[in-house]
Subunit: 346 residues, 2 copies
């Protein structure tokens, strides 16, 4: 039996092994991914992103417990180096995570964040496909969310939660402006802390700025099927409401207060997530987001394949000698690249 | 006179205009970069990275003032969406930034962080080259530093400051482990806050873990001249001390306490930065870092050029129809890419 067949039959050890292969981008991993791919397209990808200190790991933990009580199988992928799932964070958190440890309906996996950026987002996408094929109903992706890269990873999700917390420092407000546009649901965790009203007020006024009446910011639309190929598709676009939401209903991110460590607000949060999934299906955005995801994956693989082909065709010494010329300022980097590309055509 | 000639003659308006061209990656920007490139290689690139709330913008402000008093010309590039230089953060900060506003020896520029990640790092690299050619002695790059991407941008620098602050939330400690390895100088800002001893103790013990006696983590060596071309060069490498530091001296990141808003510790911090520059020159790492920087820039340009060529050769409809097959699960993304590449060879 191949590794992917074992995974399809629910073998957890095979799953763990395959995830490693996929994370390392091995030939075996790639072959297995191709075999598993027809079985994908079912899981609900939920991104959970937020700055350090917002308690998003505890939130992920509680959401997983909630989904388990609904009988769903849950995968957790922690891309956050500070996550207790990854071995980071304080002991208290890690103890809490043990709630999930003995449950066969839960699979927790953390990612190394050492590699290159593009590689990380790509590996994350591939690993969620493995979970998808393995029959997990929900896949939670936890990212640290303060940087653009984490936002890109969160964009893999069908539903993205952006987690805030009161009183985290005076420039948190500005960060929000950047990640607000990817939020499908806003969570104010640690809502028992002082300052929660101010946090909510700030989020509300920022939401109003981000979602004026006539327009809606469709972030996942930024890599649309007809845009995946165009350079301009790299930046988010503001779509007139009528174009993006055929159902005529528009989604305004709800704001949910939670105290994750005490389980408060979790059921309400899960209800918002379920509503969002329903909205995506009704509006056609579920499919649009999936096409965008696949288009963007194809483009990343394409870039990599082109570079691999170039490496195979151009001897390493040629790159080195050209770099030497650049270092000595006799060629600009761009001139050097043109030279390398022309050398290849001959 | 061309834009780049005006920039070389110190025209600030031309500089502002050229930076926009370069940020937008226009043809004019590329041509100017090639003209300016022979004039680069002189500025001291200093990366300042840290989580939201550490006060790194105030620190950048104070460092700039300090370098100005030494008669140096200073450029500031804020890649941090929360930076007051970028228009983010609270009013108080922005008022403080006015210290630098009327000074002709200072040029402040902020970047949009909307675009794609690779693009951002690339644009940042190109913009620092413009400052370099324009004769700025010091270029400060401010990034938010919590994500891998920001770390990658900080890696452009010859000297990287990692900024911490006491009492920022309970999972800050773990974040540090990830960014500690890129720190040349560690700064504990807001050192008048309670908890500063704990922060320093934690940093010290993490430094000991990261820098055992026999080995030193040479982060900028991760894209070395002979590695820029190899895939494995994407991950950092641990070099035996003897290989990386020919002078036999190894650099252990000093820890400096500061209270930036009151100017405390700034002169001492500047002294550490100067020592680090001296160390880089004595050990040969100054050149090694520059080669790594240029190699990595060439590789990024190469990837982009290969993709542009592919786009020109393969009709968009072909990509779309292949994506449709992937969406319908009749092809895996990897099979689709192989098909697209083969179609191109015919």
């Amino acid at each position: 039996m191949t590794l992917s067949q074992s995974v399809l039959q629910g073998d957890r050890l095979a799953l763990a092994r395959l995830l490693t292969q996929v994370e390392n981008d091995s030939a075996e991993g790639r072959a297995a991914l191709a075999e598993l791919f027809p079985h994908t397209g079912k899981t609900h990808l939920i991104g959970v992103t937020g700055a350090p200190g917002t308690g998003k790991s505890s939130l992920v933990n509680q959401l997983a417990l909630h989904f388990r009580r609904e009988g769903k199988r849950v995968a957790i992928l922690a891309v956050d180096p500070s996550s207790p799932f990854t071995g980071g964070a304080v002991l208290g958190d890690r103890v809490r995570m043990r709630d999930l440890a003995g449950d066969a309906g839960v699979f927790i996996r953390s990612m190394a964040t050492r590699g290159s950026l593009g590689g990380l987002a790509q590996a994350t996408a591939a690993m969620t496909q493995v979970f998808d094929a393995a029959g997990f109903d929900v896949t939670l992706i936890e990212t640290v969310g303060a940087g653009q890269s984490e936002v890109d990873i969160a964009r893999l999700a069908s539903t993205t939660l952006v987690v805030e917390a009161p009183g985290l420092g005076d420039d948190i407000q500005a960060i929000k402006a950047g990640i607000l546009e990817i939020a499908d649901v806003l969570v104010i965790n640690k809502a028992d802390r002082p300052g929660v009203e101010n946090t909510e007020k700030a989020l509300k006024s920022m939401l109003e700025l981000a979602h004026p009446t006539r327009h809606v910011f469709l972030h996942h639309g930024r890599v649309e099927t007809n845009g995946a190929f165009a350079r301009s598709a790299k930046s988010p676009t503001l779509h007139p409401m009528s174009e993006t939401l055929e159902s005529g209903k528009m989604w305004l991110p709800p704001i949910q207060r939670t105290v994750a460590v005490e389980g408060q607000g979790i059921a309400e949060l899960a209800a918002h997530i379920a509503e969002h999934a329903e909205h995506l299906r009704a509006s056609g955005d579920w499919a649009a987001r999936e096409r965008a995801r696949l288009g963007s994956e194809m483009e990343a693989l394409l870039r990599e394949a082109l570079m691999a082909r170039f490496r195979a065709e151009v001897p390493n010494g040629k790159f080195e000698s050209t770099l030497k010329n650049v270092y000595e300022r006799s060629l600009s980097p761009w001139e050097a690249v043109k030279l390398l590309l022309n050398g290849r055509q001959k």
